[in-house]
């Protein structure tokens, strides 16, 4: 067991973890951060995407011990990173544009979209589609997800984090 200390959604946490424990398992099983979901075992689907030190990371693709000392934001802490309202603009855009159905890809899709807009506040449709390539959705056909990212970009608020 290895002791790690990190900040998750603004709170300092410390736990002893097995060296093999994945960051997503740590978040879900040790911290009860069940808003972050697991959709595959080959890092294809992106459902588990969180931010580590401000950048989107598939949390199934990183060991918990690698996050020692890091600042992690999950979907549960995203709104708090934005001081303009009770939802982050990307969350609000997903709701407004009906960019989710079953909701399972949604936390990862939102976290990736926030990072995408941080990197490129004014993306073309093609840049959005390529930027979201690592996140799979089975319900929406991506049409409304693309609209949501465009809507958030147009609001000019995507890069406020």
């Amino acid at each position: 067991m290895t002791k790690i200390e990190l900040t998750v959604d603004g709170g300092k946490v410390s736990e002893d973890v097995e060296p093999r424990m994945l960051l997503v398992q740590f978040l879900r099983e040790k911290l009860g951060k069940t808003g972050t979901l697991v959709g595959c075992d080959t890092s294809n689907c992106g459902a588990c995407t969180v931010h580590v030190n401000g950048h989107a990371v598939k949390s199934c693709n990183m060991l918990a011990v690698q996050a020692d000392g890091a600042e992690v934001t999950t979907i549960e802490g995203l709104a708090a990173t934005y001081d303009g309202g009770d939802l982050h603009p990307v969350q609000a855009a997903f709701h407004e544009c009906h960019a989710l159905q079953c909701g399972y890809c949604t936390p990862g899709m939102i976290m990736r979209s926030v990072d995408l807009l941080n990197e490129n506040p004014d993306p073309t449709e093609e840049e959005i589609r390529e930027g979201l390539e690592g996140n799979l959705c089975r319900c929406t056909g991506y049409h409304n997800i693309v609209r949501a990212v465009q809507t958030a970009a147009a609001a000019g608020k995507g890069a406020t984090q």
Binding site: C40, Y104, N135
Partner: protein, 805 residues
């Protein structure tokens, strides 16, 4: 009173944002795997790596001795109370089906079948210990290729003596719904046109994003199962029927469920094991599959060969259609597995007037993952075949594919129309949808561009594909299901409770897993009762809350479940009327109800239904002898299916030097009758399109010769990403359904049913000039390139090479 006065005139038709979204976008979701209970134990499955093998021994000693392992079970440890997996739709009286034991005793029949289960204190410990279970197998020859299996070359289940499970036949001459197809074919052979083709329906994996998960809590008097399922009510029935636990002691909850698409309407060995082990251990138990486990063990869809013959006169008038199907069941007959191709039987004639029709389907057992419903379930296969044939016939006759279709389709003034398959289509307007689609698509301009590119020999060729589809949805009239030997009815239930606070609590027997029932159903109730949208709460997915129901699949929730809501709400109004009359000191005959308000004819006196609900709660002043309740419930059994339709037009660019197919434009005009929530409807269409396009271009569940699923992860099974798709151009025309009060038609499966043939027709339209006659799905770059090369070389026999496994 002002509350109801301020309410919008009509909720139905508004693009309400979803009530469901808040919890899902903030991470407050409750999917099954999120549930943790005190003392919970975890399961790890030991699965067969072989498609067909004798189990000669299982040594569990090392696993049992591992730290934090509580128990290890094999078939030998189970007793009768474990139950059995059911097939609810034996399609013929003599259907052959192997017993589907929860764990096989001595023989595995597909790669991925569970042979032992480890119970441990953590999921990680259970998985680690599963590696320590030592199973000895003696490999047996496996029936993998569908066509070979149909010839009984190798038996999937030697005890059955054959792989042929059931032969189901419909003959319009025998049924009295049309003529003899052999006569039509003979006439066409001598004096008309015959199109004979064999199409391959590639095997697909539903690929819901949430892997299946089950939690069972056996503590207390009642046993509770949470499951990532589409069918909590059916699941409860099946548990009671096969494990001996009385139905009333079973509570099944489908909490947030991350997609299903038919893939979660199964009752599964994993659920039955969790159920039995929790009762053995007297502790809560959880099992969540990995994606790899999901892909090899959760049921697959499609997987058919379709031999089809279309007869026509030389002017393009259809005279007959013959369909000979071979359908792969996989290694067990799943809950409605055999019935899926039978559902398609009624749809091959599609929107066309075909005077003679013959359909036969041979279901076949193999040593592959079981198959069952996947979005569309039988109808995408049927639509693919007829829409491909219509485009082939148009090509043969040198006609425009839309012109040929129009020549043969049912005209809008001909509804209601009884088809050659014996269904009565209540309404539709194919002319209107097609005309709109052509305009939105820019059909003529794209045809002109296509001609220019052909002329110039552009290496990137443009293809235009057409699909004018209809489907039968709203499963289903119970009598029809009875006539097809289905084991249950097709009704749906709803209850409406008027709460003391004026709020309305509604329980539906449908079980949403992404469809947005909480929003759309609130709109229906808000309109029907004249209460604010925000005051309506829709409850579902818990057999203790929505006590009766038949769940969500087959585009049934709105057209069957929604009608139950309407009927229950109308009963509430009827029950409230005498109370309103009593309180207003008027005769019941003088009371009118409109906009949520009871009023006395010709006066200003009135009460809102929410005020009446309050009065009924206190019960201080009710009519003599009246029970203090205006709550109501209704169970609705549809009299007919429901027939949405539409025209889908697809343009693709095919790079003839690489075989790459790129979507250029996709326009669809769907007629789903009256629309409750346009935002949700559009979302359903988009998602459906993506799945249908994926069958045409990307997805394929491939088994090797030994029966191992080689596309067993998202690395190899190509669920399309955002980068693989385009923005869709989706529109609507509306011909209200005549068989439900709201005039609605199903929409959940439409996009998937319509799009696959539109895409493949487009690909062929681009490359037919090189001598290509067919390309099997998925139309991958390798296949398209090979087809072009073969076509140019004059070899047209290669179309189906590489398919079949």
């Amino acid at each position: 009173m002002t509350v109801t006065d301020d309410r919008p005139a009509a909720e139905i038709g508004k693009d309400r944002r979803r009530k469901e979204d808040r919890r899902l976008i903030t991470g407050s979701s409750r999917y099954t795997d999120n549930i943790v209970l005190p003392g919970m134990l975890h399961l790890g499955m030991v699965r067969s790596p072989f498609a067909h093998a004798k189990i000669t021994s299982i040594d569990t000693s090392e696993a049992k001795a591992a730290t934090n392992v509580i128990a290890v079970y094999t078939a030998a440890d189970l007793d009768e109370s474990v139950g059995v997996l059911i097939n609810a739709w034996p399609i013929t009286p003599d259907q052959k089906a192997p017993v589907h034991a929860v764990l096989p005793a001595d023989r595995v029949s597909f790669a991925g079948e569970i042979v032992a289960v480890v119970v441990a204190r953590s999921a990680a410990a259970a998985r680690d210990a599963a590696e320590l279970v030592d199973v000895d197998y003696e490999e047996l020859p496996a029936a993998i290729d569908l066509k070979e299996a149909a010839q009984d070359k190798v038996l999937a289940h030697p005890d059955l003596g054959t792989n042929k499970s059931a032969l189901w036949v419909f003959d319009s001459a025998e049924a009295g719904t049309g003529g003899n197809v052999e006569d039509a074919i003979a006439r066409a052979r001598t004096d008309g046109v015959l199109i004979e083709r064999e199409f391959r329906q590639n095997r697909l994996i539903p690929s819901f994003m949430e892997p299946r998960s089950v939690v069972v809590d056996p503590t207390g008097e009642q046993l509770t199962m949470w499951s990532a399922t589409q069918v909590p009510h059916i699941l409860r029935f099946a548990l009671a029927a096969t494990t001996g636990v009385p139905e009333s002691k079973i509570r099944v909850i489908a909490p947030d469920v991350g997609g299903g698409f038919g893939g979660k309407l199964q009752v599964t060995p994993e659920e039955w094991l969790a159920w039995w082990i929790a009762r053995q251990q007297h502790k809560p138990v959880k099992y969540t599959e990995t994606r790899s486990e999901s892909m090899m063990a959760a049921h697959h869809g499609r997987d058919q060969w379709q031999k089809v013959t279309l007869a026509a006169t030389k002017d393009g008038t259809l005279t007959g259609l013959k369909v000979e199907l071979t359908a792969d069941l996989g290694s067990y007959v799943a809950i409605v597995g055999g019935g899926v191709p039978v559902l398609g039987a009624f749809m091959y004639n599609a929107i066309y007037k075909i005077p003679a029709y013959h359909f036969s389907c041979q279901t076949v057992l193999t040593n592959k993952t079981w198959t069952d419903a996947y979005r569309g379930a039988g109808r995408p296969e049927a639509t693919f075949a007829i829409e491909r044939l219509m485009s082939e016939l148009a090509n043969e006759l040198g006609m425009d594919p839309l012109e040929l279709r129009e020549k043969n389709w049912i005209k809008h003034e001909e509804f209601p129309f009884t088809t050659v398959a014996g269904l009565e289509y209540d309404s539709g307007n194919y002319e209107a949808a097609t005309e709109a689609a052509k305009q939105f698509f820019g059909y003529d301009e794209l045809r002109a561009e296509q001609a220019r590119r052909r002329e110039s020999g552009d290496p990137v060729q443009l293809g235009i594909g057409v699909s004018t589809f209809t489907e039968m949805c709203g499963l289903a009239p119970s009598r029809v299901l009875g006539s097809l030997d289905y084991g249950a009815g097709g009704w749906e239930h709803a209850s409406v409770r008027m709460l003391a606070t004026g709020k309305v609590e509604v329980a539906t027997g449908t079980s949403a897993h992404g469809q947005g029932h909480e929003t759309a159903f609130s709109q229906i109730i808000a309109d029907r009762l004249g209460v604010p949208f925000e005051d309506v709460e829709i409850l579902h997915g818990d057999t203790q809350v929505s006590v009766k129901g038949l769940d969500t699949y087959g585009s049934r929730s709105l057209v069957v479940g929604g009608e139950a809501l309407v009927k229950a709400a109308d009963k509430v109004v009827e029950k409230a009327k005498p109370v309103a009359a009593h309180l207003l000191e008027a005769s019941v005959d003088d009371i009118e109800f409109a906009g949520g308000r009871f009023s006395v004819k010709g006066t200003d006196a009135g009460l809102s239904i929410q005020e009446v609900a309050g009065a009924v709660f206190t019960a201080h002043n009710l009519p003599d002898g009246m029970e203090p309740s205006i709550d109501a419930e209704a169970t609705f059994d549809p009299v007919n299916f429901n027939y949405p339709h539409g025209t889908h037009l697809c343009a693709v660019e095919v790079d003839t030097e690489t075989g790459q197919v790129k979507l250029r434009k996709y326009t669809c005009v769907d007629d789903v009758g009256n629309i409750v929530n346009p935002l949700i409807v559009e979302g359903q269409v988009h998602g459906g399109l993506a799945q249908g396009i994926a069958q045409a271009l990307y997805e394929d569940a491939v088994f090797d010769e030994a029966g191992t699923l080689v596309s067993g992860s998202f690395v190899d099974y190509l669920v399309p990403s955002a980068a693989d798709l385009i923005s869709f151009d989706a529109h609507h025309t509306s011909t209200p359904a005549t068989t439900n009060t709201l005039g609605t038609k199903g929409v959940g499966e439409a996009g998937t049913i319509a799009s696959t043939p539109a895409v493949v027709n487009a690909v062929l339209d681009a490359v037919r000039q090189f001598g290509v006659k067919d390309i099997i799905m998925p139309c991958s770059p390798a296949r398209v390139y090979a087809a072009i090369a073969a076509g140019r070389a004059g070899d047209t026999g290669s179309a189906t090479e590489g398919a079949g496994q």
